[in-house]
Subunit: 186 residues, 2 copies
DNA sequence: TAGGTGATGTCAGTGTCTGACATCGCTTAA
DNA sequence: TTAAGCGATGTCAGACACTGACATCACCTA
């Protein structure tokens, strides 16, 4: 028999999302999360840098998806199109977990602190996109503008996707946002 | 003689920026800030919701500048142009306090927590811009995309302005970012 | 079989932030 | 003129987030 139950990190994530949903982020202490996961408070902080991070551990993979997709785009693809393609890949990943995304987003939008952390994660994605674009030969200015714009459109699309009914498609929301931008920027 | 020295809030802001610059945000306690301002820790929290907020109290006025400028733009101005004009007004405000902005930004960029708060403030500005655009007749989608895009460009422009030498002009950086976008979105 | 490794536990802090109540110059109304 | 109330501040106690130092002990490896 193993000394510890496996997947401590995952148990903490599950316990946290459950408790946050049940009684809210503020009203949940780390001791309670740890207890539900059968661990101690100190162990929580060995897996997550702070209380918020327990909700954002899964957002790291998206960075890889985005940069890979940018790198994989044909060399002659214009920057904004490469960004659009990358966001499409990310959209496919998220589309699969719509109900989880909804549940998680409900907790996040109910709390200012969590919103802050989400914005940081998106800014990190923007930075990653910009770096990937530069290594494809885009200028610093082009890369920054294309990446920031892409993430801005993603934010708008993500919000309308989650606000819409269950049949909505994130990729479609994204395409619609890009189309709107191209009209506005004409 | 008045019972208290005047401008407690301003004294706290000054003391905080000084201490953050001297020894860093993390290494400064609220008790120290309060003491330098001749007040107590409890009073600090009556003026600012949390430790970070002492650096962001001055960013609220920008919201008014932006929404006023959008409202003041001629009715036939396209959304993205109205946003550009509004950001120009904000740029003029910031251009006057370049040295203060630099000092403050040095503290902010040195600390992840503070970066988070700054992103939230920018998101609030984006929300305000979108609301102002909608009340001018823009659709929800147009307003969201134009506002988010405008703030994204502002972020890029602000970064390059602060990175450049003392002769740089924020409005020019902004125009350059918009020009880059219009090229990319062609 | 001895010793090292690594995830976890225990404990004692520091600092942020909050609620409850006290203080006391100043303002307002009788 | 005075009593009552207001409002910015102080005092105090405490919950909770987060950290450093050290202990534990199943498991692996030489």
């Amino acid at each position: 028999m193993a000394r510890w139950e496996p997947n401590a990190r995952g148990r903490l994530e599950d316990a946290a999302l459950d408790l946050f949903t049940e009684r809210g982020y503020d009203k949940t202490t780390i001791a309670e999360i740890a207890q539900r996961a059968g661990l101690t408070e100190r162990t929580f902080f060995r897996h997550f840098a702070d209380k918020r991070e327990v909700l954002f551990g899964a957002s790291n993979p998206l960075l890889g998806v985005l940069t890979d997709a940018v790198a994989a785009a044909p060399t002659d693809t214009p920057p904004l199109d490469a960004v659009a393609a990358a966001l499409d890949s990310a959209a496919a990943v998220l589309q699969e977990r719509r109900s989880y995304a909804r549940r998680r987003q409900a907790v996040i939008t109910a709390n200012e602190e969590l919103l802050e952390r989400e914005l940081v994660k998106l800014a990190v994605l923007a930075e990653g996109l910009a770096t990937a674009l530069r290594s494809r030969g885009a200028s610093a200015a082009e890369a920054a503008v294309a990446a920031e714009t892409g993430i801005a459109l993603f934010r708008a699309a993500y919000a309308s996707w989650l606000a819409a009914d269950d049949t909505a498609d994130l990729a479609e929301c994204l395409h619609s946002a890009f189309a709107t931008l191209r009209t506005l920027a004409r």
